[in-house]
Amino acid sequence: MLNRRLLAVVGAAAIVVMACSSSASPSPSAAPSAAASVAAADCTVGVSWNNYQEERWAKWDEPAIKAALEAGGAKYISNDAKSSAETQASNVENLISQGANVVIVLAQDGTAIKPAVASAISNGVPVIAYDRLIEDPTALYITFDNKLVGKMQAEALLKVKDAGNFVVIKGNKADANADFLRAGMVEAGLPEAGASSDKLKNVGESYTDNWDPKNAQTSMEQFLTANNNKIDIAFVQNDGMAGGVIAALTAQGLQGKVPVSGQDGDAAALNRVALGTQTVDVWKDARLLGKAAGEAALALCADKNIKNAKSSLAPTVQFMSPGGNDMTSIFLTPQPITKDNLSVVLDAGWITKDVLCKDVTAGSVPGC
């Protein structure tokens, strides 16, 4: 009996060991290197990914960061937190133990990571909050301007139709981005949540659990039903949900007649833009973000103080975070893609022509 139990424990341990070794996180070996000032040549930059399994990070962000670092002669190390805020905290320490002079963090949770970030900074290792906010005023925040994304979405739709009934399909309520995007829409002239203006009447506004396209589709179906199809504009916050909304419109024969927005540059969404069923897809080129972060890391290697390093960084702005922190930030400008400028994504190598132009009548839009 005892032997069998022992065997089971050993077996389980073996599985765990195997699983861990495949995750390729190197064990901390090097002692913490707290060398005072480092020349760019022996600069090591550590990146803590929150979930490397998602396509985007491996495909676009990491190569861009690596390329920028290689150009500056710096070394790249990384690990993956597998969507766990706890793991990420120890991962950041692990990177510093491995000798990172600058740490780039794609935060799983912008608040939970704060202690690890604070300890890194107090150890003389500057931290870059990559793509997602970390509520620490001493970190450098690099992201695409989410408010601007919302503004661009609304502007593109209002350019097509500037009066009538509208609905807003927002993202996950717990995600601050949903509200940033909504605020950006207000800047473009859309009334505040729940309100209407003389020309624009709000006939439906809803958050969407998990940004789930299926929930967005159901919301849109119900809005169409409640308004007897009298919906003129659909402000949708990302491409996945835009897919659901357009499926609901298609069921009513309204696809292409109601302007719909999105963001992310999903292949399927860009194809819809080419087909004319989606009006705009605000594209955030992850490679630009990676490049900006890589270059900022090089600058911070040379001068650890963010305030001093400002001059050698890309243009920074001061951003007041929702948590009341005055963040030194680099905001990149996204690019709205409509049927008129599809060549932008093609030329950038973001998407291939056969994917973009699937089922599109040749010559019907520039680029296809």
């Binding site: 399994q53 998602e54 396509e55 985007r56 491996a58 495909k59 309520k173 439906g204 506004e205 809803s206 958050y207 969407t208 659990d209 998990n210 940004w211 789930d212 396209p213 299926k214 929930n215 589709q217 159901t218 919301s219 179906e221 119900q222 809005f223 039903t225 409640a226 199809n229 491409d239 996945g240 897919g243 659901g244 499926a247 298609t250 069921a251 009513q252 024969g253 309204l254 007649k257 999903d266 292949a267 399927a268 969404a269 194809n271 699937k358 089922d359």
Partner: protein
Amino acid sequence: MSEATTAPPTATGEPPGRSWRTALRALELDTRLLGMVGALAVIWIFFNIVSGGNFLTPRNLWNLSVQSSSIAIMATGMVLIIVSRNIDLSVGSMLGLLGYTMAMVQVNWLPGVLGVSYHEPYIWIVAILVGLVMGALMGGVTGFIVSYGGVPSFIVTLGGLLVWRGVIFRYAQGQTLAPLNDTFQLFGGGPKGALGDVASWVIGLLACLGIVYTLWAGRRRKRRYGFPVRAMWAEVAVGVVGCVVVLIVVFVANSYAWPEALASQYAVEHGITEPPGGLIIPTGIAIPVVVMLGVGLVMTYIATRRRFGRYVYAIGGNPDAAELGGINVRRTIMLTFVLMGILAAISAAVQTARLNAAVTNLGVQNELDVISAAVIGGTSFAGGIGTIPGAILGAVVMQSLRSGMLLLNVDSPTQDIVVGCVLVAAVGFDSYVRRRSS
């Protein structure tokens, strides 16, 4: 009718309707199911009043039927799993993986390997077959570990929830697959994915014949074994009410006309001059709803008429007695999971077709909706109790709440709160009634 003379003593002699209670008893209806229909009616009427008559329109009811179908399909399988004292938490992830695979088959693999366009008419058949086989295999693996490995189903399917979702992320890498094969899209409903008026009426009439035949055959069988039968008037009443309900459903589905924009597009394509007031094309019952009703029928037959189904209930009622009674418990349990996998594949086809896309978070949290539907529909976690029609009704109740609140512009957090309260209240009320009646 020689049986009539040899009839055993029945309630036939009683005058109909001494009081409504005896009359109801004479009808031998499932009172819990009736209670649910009553609750659903209350919900529908409430939403109709509050939304200013927007809820009980052919259009909204038609939408509701389509929106409920994918959860209802899976709920029928979940009933058998819960009845046999197990649970399946992996259905949402399983659905996601199966849906994604079916989309891969039609968008990438077949066109990639055979060099054919995804428009080819046979592609949807291959995609669905791949989905069904894979669903059965995935369910089989889960079921095998549960029944032969002796690991509690809660744990195995919790693992499944993580593993299947992880597999999707691994090989989907965040990419959305769209658009899908044209025929495949019909499984998602939409005016084009519906039967139209003629076929709907035919199905309605067939259903009526089915009801009449079932009542007649049931009566004859009971006679043969000398069981008491319902009074003739009760039998007729059940048949008439059943048929009327079926025909009303068909009528409502047919009164939902194609949306104007689609109808005029159709008129242009087929060279029809539009009559004044627009072309009216009745939509009829949606294909996903037909699939759901078909699944419901087959599952009811399996659960109540096949040996396998009766074994499931026997195991749920008392596993030890079932084992001692010679039932192959392990094999039966494993088969319930295989069945669940197949149903998840069918649901996955409906959901991906409806979205006309496969996304990586397809089916997230569906396991909770499916389990809620089964439980609201009267399935008991103590095992041995639960019906297929109840689970389908449960799914409709849940979706009615969600759709109704969306019509009223209630935000998603509030929706969750209401649905959560209703779930607990419904089960609490049910067990209260059951305790009092026993």
